[in-house]
Symmetry: C2
Subunit: 649 residues, 2 copies
Amino acid sequence: MPRTRLALPATGPVRLGPDAHAALLPATAEVRSGFWHARREANASTSIPQGPGLLESAGNLHNLRLAAGTAEGEFRGAYPFVDTDVYKWLEAASWQLAQWAPGEGGPQAGRLAADVERIIALVAGAQCGDGYLNTWFQLVKGGERYRDLRWGHELYCAGHLIQAAVAHHRATGRDELLEVARRFADHIDTVFGPPGSGKPIDGVDGHPEIETALVELYRETGEQRYLDLAGYFVGRYGHGLLGGDAYCQDRVPLREAENVEGHAVRQLYLLAGATDLATETGEAELRAATERLWQAMTTTKTHITGGLGAHHDKEDFGDPFELPNERAYCETCAAIASIQWSWRLALLTGQARYSDLIERTLFNGFLAGVSLDGESWLYVNPLQVRDGHTDPGGDQSARRTRWFRCACCPPNVMRLLAGLEHYLATSDGTGLQIHQYVTGDYTADGITVRCETDYPWHGTIAVTVEETPVDHPWTLSLRIPQWCRLGPGGEFRVRCGERTYDAPVTDGWLRLERTWAPGDRIVLELPLEPRLTAADPRVDAVRGCVAIERGPLVYCLEGVDHPGGGLDDIVVDATRPLAVKHRPDLLGGVTTIVAAGRRRHLPDAGWWPYGPAADAPHSDGEPLELTAIPYYAWANRQDGSMRVWLPTS
Amino acid sequence: MPRTRLALPATGPVRLGPDAHAALLPATAEVRSGFWHARREANASTSIPQGPGLLESAGNLHNLRLAAGTAEGEFRGAYPFVDTDVYKWLEAASWQLAQWAPGEGGPQAGRLAADVERIIALVAGAQCGDGYLNTWFQLVKGGERYRDLRWGHELYCAGHLIQAAVAHHRATGRDELLEVARRFADHIDTVFGPPGSGKPIDGVDGHPEIETALVELYRETGEQRYLDLAGYFVGRYGHGLLGGDAYCQDRVPLREAENVEGHAVRQLYLLAGATDLATETGEAELRAATERLWQAMTTTKTHITGGLGAHHDKEDFGDPFELPNERAYCETCAAIASIQWSWRLALLTGQARYSDLIERTLFNGFLAGVSLDGESWLYVNPLQVRDGHTDPGGDQSARRTRWFRCACCPPNVMRLLAGLEHYLATSDGTGLQIHQYVTGDYTADGITVRCETDYPWHGTIAVTVEETPVDHPWTLSLRIPQWCRLGPGGEFRVRCGERTYDAPVTDGWLRLERTWAPGDRIVLELPLEPRLTAADPRVDAVRGCVAIERGPLVYCLEGVDHPGGGLDDIVVDATRPLAVKHRPDLLGGVTTIVAAGRRRHLPDAGWWPYGPAADAPHSDGEPLELTAIPYYAWANRQDGSMRVWLPTS
């Protein structure tokens, strides 16, 4: 099959422009059952439907009515970006609506569509005549605009409005919200521009986000000036317009940066926008910067869960290899932004590593952010909660919370889960690439394959060709996960009927080229032996420790499974085998891993916990069976301690 | 010699009341030369004299003039507690003046006395007619008072004013500042009281400090109501008057608390006040709480440097054993507050452990806070600065700073160093106790002993009896430092002429009772072999690491001494001997410790720094001589990496 330009997908958060310089194009997938289907069901049946009520009780909708003049009272909420909670919910609801064909979805779909319509009307009603829209500045700041770009979040809010509008348009074909977003974007385009452009303000927002949104608005509308405006914003960070500090991405221009830094979500949204921009413009320097920064981030600043962020103070990345456990600041939004950025790099470059990180983040650092029932949330996603932990409460709590004061994460989770099928597969003119394995159908270019799997609990993934061009060879590319290539869990296998393939894996892809016929069936077996993982020795926080992993899942211990003491005196015996035990009764059904360990005898050191190294206590102690659960499922039972990294002695 | 009530010392920050329930009384000491004399010289000749100029340029004195109506302009400074920088400087200057007898000290003393007089006049001029004094609230808040006790710091400021006033009175016998402080304290006493007292406000300050100051004002004036007011404040924390959170010490009443928590300096000042209170009232429950909390703090929340605080966010203590290195938040003020609290416990209980912690803190966590030249400062005192560190600048910088935006620490260092002689020795009616060893004279109850030592560089401490009651046996008690009792550096020895004592050490004290004669000479030899120290295994941050120590000093590596690479790939060989090398040329003269180590070969892990535990790289690498310097002397050369805890493999 010759490499040709393919049809654009109808829906999805990334739709490439006609001149995009991408290696891959997003393909359509449908998730039918299995692990992610269950998470999406909780999202569709609980999280998203509860959104309007929570936005009402938190005051977000009230603020929109105030701005429209249809209600009276005080502005509610503590931040200038509270409107984005509404926009992210609208985006989530739109992707959700897109999953139902007209007339499908029953009363649930009808209610959701009505909520969306009602809330879009509130948004539209709050918009100023010239297109400006930010209830905080309209109501609290007396209409003052763009005077506090560092903290004001006005363009950040516009970015989320644009993303919601594009989603709504793609999902429903309707343009009420898109018109609101375009009016705001057009207004911004009259205000912001470089010196000499005749625009009144040369500036960028303290919180990047509008850049990726503007590229998508260009993609949706075809209007070049939105792409140009995105390019202007991306280029103006790092030039001191915001005071020159790393927090706001203003210390160094992105094209010159050597590592990710500053506020993690700000950095990652900016990089998503920069990658969009490089994809559409083909600029080599910008592309090189995004690839370089991704490599630096994963090598030196990523937690094993895919979580990103090391400082509670400023929500910043730390120094290289500064990856604390109890003080990890792995904001759920940063995990989401990482997935969004990595997906754009996957499309741009075609390399599997980006989807490797997406998989790890989805199953761990991202998914931990929402409870199993879809009703409560974690913001910072630590890798450890100590015995004797004094919980601060609030957004940074180690306990799940019904809603946050800064409620950025919950609707962000909703929109990613609702649009998850758009991050699973691609096509490239030579065939179909499966990036993530779910039970469902993957479709592109006249090809449909059906995938059946109980992944990540079982490693068998059966792919059956349903539709295929006749007499046209094409390549089915299966991503062989990076965790599997690292070993030592054994080799993966690929079978077709009785035949075992011995195809090489190139850059993470197993490529099977042939002339396919309907009914052809490929079975991929991924080795799910549990494994003990250690870190680069420069990650000081986990020296002398191992983590338990199985497939894409990172495991943890919870105090509730280890009565009779805490977790801080436990050691794991790394020389003993790990046992796998599926527990359908536990946490919605999880595979646990049982390890041999001990509870240390801790000598009474008097009042000083430091002493001669030669006298350091040995790891004797009571034998103890350690039960590890998947990290994503922690904090779904009772409060208590937790740890991912386990001392070996 | 019968146990009798002894004369109160003339000067010093703690003067016990006539009915105090203390085991020990502060004795007078005079530091003549040696280690601490040099630090105090830098304080006296550089830090303190530069204070007025810095307070002028930072706006603190300007604010006082504004409040007095003798200047025009805007309030300067970012915090409601900027007045305390002035008060702490006045306290430092007062203790400094006390070291010069009238007519001594030359032009330096004259200039300082004039500065003190001038600045006291500014303070007095700013005071409201009813005694209230806080320039922030007078100038910025339009005279509004006590409406924001959680953040307002009004009583905190009053506390530092009182401490300065008491110091000035004790040092000079003059009462200009004491009258200002009394007027303010009297005013506060009309405002604050329990329900039913008829006082308008039942409340406490978000930042404890006034409690310890009020007890001292009681001691200085004999007025019981100041003690009662201190007791009221101590008792009202933990009852939700401030919102009920740990940050402001309001989560749990102090008498019920099980561990230190919340903002470290707030906690420690409160505990100093509580210990003062228990000392004066004899209350067993409060005394037990302070002893319990000290034990919990040292066992679970103290860095090896004596530094306290684990969170940049909120400047809080962490959970038990949460003692990060690069993100240690060991505020210099917390080290000072710890010394102040421990000294009060030493007096109350007579136990040597409190002075053990004081020694460790003085030589390490405290002294690192000021540069060797007395001109620049560290606020957070981390235990590690990584290769590739991106310095945030500002108060939390790992580089020394000339003055801080929140300048609480520098004048706090000045006041402790200027009054350091008051933390060195005690008497108890049976003799003299030497808590800290300096070259100088120690005097109490007709006893004077002279101490000569080059400690901490050398372990020989010679104590000569200069004056003694005739035919009256008394006990010379020498604190045998806890670091020495921990071994394995060998045993200490005590000689008198040719005779070696084999006296037992009880609770840290070597007690030598006899009828002394002038000229009697005791030589204490402390073993200064360098040693490798490990931590309780629950201190996750330092697993697999050792620290180098010698005597009371904690050592560190600095990048500047290890060119050709960073510090993050270095390991120390814990099986090889440590060598001691005195370097008179280096950092004002320090003893360095040379250890055998290697620079690891780090494998290229691709883009992911986690991999199979079985494949973890071994510690091969280039042999490297590691040069350790005392921690207190770090950051006195060039910017760069530093670490206290060194991996062993």
